[in-house]
Structures are given as C-alpha cells and as structure tokens.
Symmetry: C2
Subunit: 634 residues, 2 copies
Amino acid sequence: MRKVYLSNTPRQGALIKFLDGVKITRRTETAAVPDTLGRVTAEAVFARLSMPGYHAAAMDGIAVQSEKTFGTSDQNPLILKPEVEYHIINTGEPLPSGFDAVIKVEDVQFLADKQAEILAPATPWQYVRAVGEDVVAGELIVPARHCLRPPDLGALLAGGITEIKLLAKPQVAVIPSGSEIVDPGEKRNKGSIPDFNSTVIASFLQQWGAEAAILPPVPDDPDQIRETLSSALEDFDLVIINAGSSAGEKDYTFSAIEDLGEVFIHGVATRPGKPTILGCVDHKPVVGLPGYPVSAYLSLEWFVQPLIYQYLGLPLPQREKMPVTLGRRVVSEVGVEEFVRMTVGFVNERYIANPLTRGAGVTMSLVRADGLLVIPANSLGYEQEETVEIELYRPQNELRYNLLAAGSHDLIIDLLATALKERDPRLHLSSAHLGSMGGIAAVGRGQAHLAGVHLFDPETEEYNWPYIKKLLPGHKLHLLNLAYRMQGWIVPRGNPDGIEAIEQLADLKLSFINRQKGAGTRLLFDHLLREANLSSDQIYGYKREEHTHLNIAAAVAAGTARIGLGIMPAARAFGLDFIPLIEERYDLLISDAFYNSPEFKILLDIINDPQFQKQVEAMGGYSLRNAGRIIEKT
Amino acid sequence: MRKVYLSNTPRQGALIKFLDGVKITRRTETAAVPDTLGRVTAEAVFARLSMPGYHAAAMDGIAVQSEKTFGTSDQNPLILKPEVEYHIINTGEPLPSGFDAVIKVEDVQFLADKQAEILAPATPWQYVRAVGEDVVAGELIVPARHCLRPPDLGALLAGGITEIKLLAKPQVAVIPSGSEIVDPGEKRNKGSIPDFNSTVIASFLQQWGAEAAILPPVPDDPDQIRETLSSALEDFDLVIINAGSSAGEKDYTFSAIEDLGEVFIHGVATRPGKPTILGCVDHKPVVGLPGYPVSAYLSLEWFVQPLIYQYLGLPLPQREKMPVTLGRRVVSEVGVEEFVRMTVGFVNERYIANPLTRGAGVTMSLVRADGLLVIPANSLGYEQEETVEIELYRPQNELRYNLLAAGSHDLIIDLLATALKERDPRLHLSSAHLGSMGGIAAVGRGQAHLAGVHLFDPETEEYNWPYIKKLLPGHKLHLLNLAYRMQGWIVPRGNPDGIEAIEQLADLKLSFINRQKGAGTRLLFDHLLREANLSSDQIYGYKREEHTHLNIAAAVAAGTARIGLGIMPAARAFGLDFIPLIEERYDLLISDAFYNSPEFKILLDIINDPQFQKQVEAMGGYSLRNAGRIIEKT
C-alpha cells in the first residue's frame, strides 16, 4: 500500500504555473450575426455601410428647401405648392433630391388645393437624420475579443455586416473515472455513485463559453485511464479527469498525466479542493479534479475558468463582494486557504452571514449558499459578530429580501420557502439548522428573523415559552404557532424489534442515531431517558449525531441505525414505520422587527392559506388547529 | 393629414397599468436535468434518493469495528487480521456490514501476513461519510420558480431526480412593420431600412428566458398589420410590433391593436422611447415599440422584461449602480424622464462619466455606453463636476480599467482600443469625440487620461503645444506624438469640380460640410479661410456640422455635401477622392498620473510595435516617423 502525500502549493502560485505551462491555440469560425449572441469576436469589425444610408426625415411633416423659407414669419406667412415646393414626408423617409429641411406636421397648416402654409423659416438640415448618424461606414463597431450583446448585433447589421469571425469555443473533454461511477439515471447499488459531477462540470464550462463533451466513465484501471486521456487529447483543447486525483491506492490520474506529459501541481493548499492535479501533455492542459463535488467545482473555477477566459481574451468575471456580520464563529487552520459557503440574511438592518456545512461532499451547501467566505491561509478564522467580506453567489439587492430561519428543522419550513417565492419572487428563505436552542439564541442576537422551536419544559409541562423567557429576558418577541406534530420512533418497516417503550433500546442494545445538541428532539429523548431512569451510556449510538429528521430516517433506512426519534413525514419519506410517542408544539419565534415587516404579513398570509394547510396536512403527522395564532408575546 | 398627439404617461404608471391588464398563462414542460441549465422550475423538487446511499469511507484506510479498538494506545498496540478484523477501504467505498469506523492509511502499519497494527482507538463513525450527507431523500432541493445553476443540476441528479418540470419559455412574436423595411442582408436602396431591430429584440428576449420568432416584415397597410397581429395572437403569448407606434400618417399599430382589443397606453413620458403602445387582445399582451433603435430597446426593457420575469416568477434583475462625476453638463427637459447613455473612466481616482449622443437612432451609443444616466422628470439636469448615480452596463470592477480618450477623433484610436484589449482583456478605451480643444480641457479638468490633438498655431507655426501652454498653465503634462497625417479635401470620386484651391468653394457655391466647434479640422478650415481672405458667410453649409471624419466623408458620398475637409482614410472608406492639403501633427496629450501608470506603458508599447505601425500605415495618409516620441512635457 502506497503512502504518497500531496503538495501544499498556494492556489495563486499554482494557477500562474499552470497558465504559464499550457497553451490553447485559438481557432476561429464564421457565423451569421443573429446567431452570435454571447459569442466573442475574433477580430475588430468595422462598418461596411452607413445607417441611414441617406438623409432621412427625423419627423413626420413636409420636406422643404430651407433657402426658400428664409424671411417667413407670423406677419409674413409662406404658402408652398405640393410636389414642387414641398413634399409630404414621414419619419425615416429619404429627403427628395434638392430638399434640405423638414418642418414638423404640427407647424404646417394645409389649405385648399393641398397648399401648405408655414409661419416660420426652416434652418438648413433641421429634423433631418444625417447619413451615417447611427453607424457610419468605416467606423469601428466592436473590437476583437468582444463578447457580443444584443445592441452590438443591431449595430453590426446596421453597418452592413451580416457575418463575422468568432473565436471558436474551446472544446473540453470531461472524463468521469472510478469503478464505482454509474450513469445518473442508472439503478444504484451499494457502492455505486451516480456521475452527477460531469453534468455540473459541463454546465459550468457551457456558462463560461466552452463546449464540453462528457465521455463514458472509465474504471479504476491505469491503462484504460491513460488510453482514454491519450485519445481525448487528440480531439479536445483541454481534458478534465474527475476524479482519482488524490494519492490513494486507486488514484491513477496523476500517473496517467505524468506518463504522457508533465504534472505541474499535485495538491493545492486549499480546503476543500486539495487533491487537484494541474498538468499538460505537449502544452495541452490536463486537469485532474477531486471527486468530492464541492472540491471539484471550486477547483474547476480556480483553474479552468481563467484558462477559458484567457483563450477568449475576456476579463475574468469578479463576484460582487459585500461586508457581512458573522452570526457564528468560523475557525480555520493556518496554512490552508478555506472556502466556507455561507447563507446571508438582512436582519435588523445588518447583513448576517452563517456558515453552512464545510463537508466537501455536500453539493447542497452550494445550492443553499448565498455567498462564499474565503479565509486566507494565514488566518485562524473569525469570531462571532466580526465583520468579514464575502463573495456573493446572488446579487446583493436580492439578499436584501433574504429571510433567515434559524432553529429546528421542519419540512413545513421548506414548503414555506417555496410559497414565499411564489408570492414575491424576491423573497428567499434560507434555513440554518441550529436546533431549537440555537435558533432562540440566533433570534436573540439579531441574527435571524425567525426560529423554529419545539422545546418541552418538564417543570412547567409547557412548550417553548419557558425556555425563551429564560434565555432572552427583556427581548421584545412574538411566538407564533406553526403546527402540532407527532414525534415518534422511526424504525425499519414492520417494526421488527417490536418497539413500544424506550427501555427496549437499552435491553435489545439497538443501534440508535441521535440528533445534535440543542435540538428539541434530542432534549425530548433526554427527557424520555430520565423518565425511564436510563443513562445515555446505556444507549448504543447516543453520541452519533445527525442534524435533520430526514437524516435520521436515512440512517435507519440504510440499516446503519436500528432506531431514531423523529417526525412522521421523515419516516414516510423512506417508507419506514413510525411509532407515535408524543404530540409536540412547533412554534416560530419571531423578532419584533420582523413581526412589523411587510414580509411577515406575507408569511402569516401563507400560514393561514387553506391551500397551504392542505399541503402540510398531506405530509402526515401534523395538526394545524392553532396555525398562525400568536401564542405569547413580550 | 391627421394631427394626433401622444399621451405623456409616466413610465412607472404605464408599467403598472400594463401588468395589471394582461396575463400570460403559465405552461410547463418536462426536461432531462442535464438540459435545464438556466431554466426555471415549475414546482419544488424534493430528493427521491439519498446521496451517498450508504455509509462510505471518507478516507483511504482500513474499516474497523470501533468497539474492538477501545483501549488501544502506543503502549498497547492492536494487531488486526485482514478480511476479518479489518478491510482495506478507499474513499467513497461502502463500509462492510458490521464495521463502523475508518482508520486513515497513514495511521496503519502493515505487518507480515497482511496484518495491520494500530496505535490508537477508533471512535464510532470516524471518517465515515453518512448516508444522505450530500443529499437526503425527501429534502427540498430547489423551490418552484428557481433559475437552475450548475450545482443545482448536480444536487438534483444526486437526489435521484433525472427529469423535472420546467416553466415553458414564453413565446413571443416580433412583427417588423414598415414599407421601407428590408432584410438586413438585402441590397439597400435609397429609402430602404434594414430590419436590424428585430434581431436585437429577439436577442434580448432570448437573454431574458423567452423564445422569439421574427415574422416576415409587414408593409404600412392597416389591414395587413391587423391581420398579421390577429394571426400571431393565436400562436404566441406576447406580440411585439416594431414600429408604426407613433401618431403619424402611416402609423397603423395603434389602430390595429385597438381594432382587435384595447390600448392601455399610447405615449410614455420618456426620452427616448415616447411613442410606445401598451395594450392587449383578450388579456394577451401586445406592445408597439418605437422605430428608432435606442427607443425600441429601452422601451422593450421597461415593459417587456418585467412581463417575462413575472411569468417566470423571478425577481427583476437590477443593474449595478455607481456614483460618478460628470465630465460635462447634462441638461434635461422638465416633464420627461431622460435616459442618457454614458461612457465612464477611472481618472485620478475618480469615476468620470461623459454623455454620448442622445439621438434615439444611434445604436452605436448603446454599443459604446458603459452606463445609463436616468434623469427624473422633475429635473433640469446636472452640472459639470456634479456627482450623479448611474446604472452600469458593464461591471464596476471592469470600469476601473476604462481609459478615457477625449479630444479629436482619429481612426488610429480605434486600432489602439482593439490592441489594448488584446494585450490585457481588462483594458477598454472609450472615446469621447470632443475635438482637440475639448480634449485639452478634459485632460486639464482631470476628466480624461489622454486627448488626441492637432491644433495648428498660425503665430508660432507650431502644433499643439502653444494651445496647451495657454489653456493649461501650471499643469504637469506630457505630449506624445502618435502620427503625422494628411488633411485634405474630401470630394466625389473623380473630383468633378476640379478642386484645387479653397476659393473654389465660394466661387462654385459648393455645398460644404463642416466639423464641430473646437475640432482641429474646423480650426484648420478657419485658418485657410482667413489666409484666403474669405468669410464663413461665403461658404454654403459652414454651419452644418459633423463630429467625425467618417461622417464628413459619408455626407459627401451620399451626395448631400459636395466637399468636406478631413483625413485620407475617411475618404478611402467611402471610395472618394482625396486632395492632400497639409500634413499635420496628431499628438496625444497625456496627464502626468496616466503617464506614470502601468496602462500607459502598455499603450506606448503598442504604439512602438512594428506590427501595429504596419496596420496604421495600411490605412493610408499617415507617417509614423516620430510615433511614440515625447514631444514636450512640463
């Protein structure tokens, strides 16, 4: 078994070395102007014809010879004969030969015999659109390396250009590698991984102006990988292999590139994205991308996007940047540049950003992210409430309308997100799964608009309010009921262990899967343990945590856990059995500022909407008997 | 002859009335996920499968049963048997049944007989990627009305979704109308106008997510226009007629819409864009766009883009805004909202913006514009040096690299623009055609990086420097020679009037076309007049002005002027005769700040490049004997 370690080359240095070592030869192609939107010119284009090609009337009216109108006035009107001394002319029509001015129709009085009376002289060339006013022959319309926009196409056609020379799109081969890789649509077995990375990579390339071909997956076989690479190099300008880019037993991308050409970089000092390979074969660029989705996409952006833009001669687009306040502490290791996906919301006139999971494998973190925090290699990270600059994935003026839901996760929150967007396209609900306790704290710190909470207080036998009073004394807050929902045991279909009581978990040594600290469901489980006089040591898997109900159900469905505590729709989603235990109240804790905002009115309107309530009830396990009612307020 | 006047409805009110009165019924379609980039979801999509679908190794190493490793330490190493107590496992591979942790390969010592020695215990589930970590079944992947980005496609495929329901693109008919309209590629006659507007309109629609069909042009015939509209309404969601939208004799768009349905608005209080028609037939939107290109495109953006985005349920994109300093005064009429296209440059640490021509017909003003100044209806405009906010057509971080060339126009400036972009894609050279005098003033006010000047001083018989010394005393400046060039008479081919001397212009009463005030060429003409003892009154057309050499040549070529003064390549571009008169020095006046910038080094490098010089010489009429030499400096 090999033990090879990757290098830790700083990202910027790796990019420079790569761009210096490779070359994509520019090719051109000719296309009809209407088909060139978003394409890039290969050369400067000069107008061939003028537009207009003649002097044209700029107004509806009459064409006159200005010289003959001199001296005309109210006191001294002039009467013009049709077809001889004047011609009726409409906007855009050519001036008759010998005529040099237009008088607006409003300023003309038509008399008998079509004679026209005017009360003021015309100055030469008044209301005349000169030849070449729009585009003049010989004029530069667009320079070389110009990305064509709609008005450019208009100016080209106006200037008599119907075909232009474009830079051909660079052709990129995407080679999915790995014996475990199957087509995304294929049936999945244990150990098989659907190749969704290739589609994402190809889509990014398409967005950047390249053309990507996804080749058939290649198994983990050094010869096959080398041969596929070798043959792709014949037909493409750039080859991307995904993955096998690390230094593991079955990672053959490195040796394939090195056998045929040269590896410049193996390993960049980033997290995620470290196992990246940058190399070439006869100066043709070859990139080995990591297998983890987030790593692969970030690495693609760092190293392949600049290459494509360099080929097209376009400036690399820069993401909009914005200062935000951190809602949570973000730690980082010295020596690696870290890339943390963030959600952003506009709470109490501040942009608050919270980190999403850092897992390199979590595609959903990119789907959910509003921005990206780049932590430099020399930084240990940032403290809560610190101001940091992030790169935005969505425009700042849209983030203004981002609502931040912290706290406990419930599937109703997902439905709310969709319904909000339908009411007002600008409204976007981002969820941070912090658990009920974390949600209360976030609202208290002014870092979230609302938080889902379901916390049973054994002392008062009340839900939520005792905790909120204790944790946020003196805050002005509103507690709105969203639903009552059943919590219960999530177990394999048919309840093979015959679960009825919590004691069975300890007695049968069932593999349990727990929720994270601060989650209402975890507190409920702890409460149940105490009631049954059990200690957490007696539960196998007590320390194994997941952050959502669905992930609990997924573990039970996969057979890696035998039982979990959660809500009914999660069990349903996986076709599992659900043994109801307790009905709990799930409320939304709402800051006073949000309570008084127009967005809250929309939210409340949705919660009270019978159509929406039907959707919720269809998921099972919910009662909406108090939905939309304010339960408590300070 | 009708005298119908348009209404002056404020733009925002017109939009609201239009959106309230029309409706596009949403249609959906199903598509394979890889084909949905940039499309919009019709409904929320939830994951069908989990990714990964099994517990997988997150590291290369060995899979173990954590329970059996408890108590292991340096002092108390543990030796594991292959295939029984441990399994070799690579990243992404499923954990064997009964195994619950991974030990990294770096932490394993392999002994004889493939036995593995470890020196530390494994905690349960360490280095294990849990089922559903990436995407968990049942989880919301994307809400309805979501515009799909590359990572979204990855998450969908990961979640077992291979097909989704999209909003069908709205189908738009574009009807070009006007008897003068011909196909862009067709031969143009006097009075014919190529239909380039339709291509621009269709391209904008495509960019916004609609699908446009350009119908064959319809002549100015009320019945044909009504019939074409009526039949388009059967097949399309939205119909656009371009143009005939004003109230002139041959403007039939209004009556066509009113005959079949209803007109909400005829005339908006904007400049350009006033003659816009907003209406409907059975709630289906119909828009009559003005014929002038700039009017048409702005009106399209004001009224059609919101309609499309409303259909797609997406927030209307907002252009980036930025405060700029006005390099020139911009006046406006009270009662109309004005839209002024602007160039922007970063000069002496300030963003300086200058208005381009306001002609509604000048497509090139949109091509050249870096931003748009919107002057509210209640404003009289803004003063020079005032700070105003403009909407950007190009990202601010690119405008940082915009170089502003003011002053006299020369075709070499166009070549420089193209060459700069080729050296550094970020460099963009915007030209404001202010004439030599205007250019000197602009550099003096810190509103331009450089200015082209060619000003003959009769007193000293020197070029440029006497003017600069007089106009900008005490400024630190550099004067760089770009070229010597021939000025001469531009006359019809064959020189039919046998032009040799300036006196002939007066004697033969030739129709002259002049350059604008402050242009070096106009000063040269004035100098020639004085030398010949002629007064400007003796020159027919002295007051008729154009702003570029090419426009002078275009007027002569079109026969609307008989003679003009200009440079040789302009005459050449139109196949005209050129009678050389005087060789003049064309210099670049350069501010000290720009002189010391890295961008100037690039500019100078281009001017000295033999390849570039060959290009310039090929245009004819230039001598580069001193090109790139500093002539004077303070």
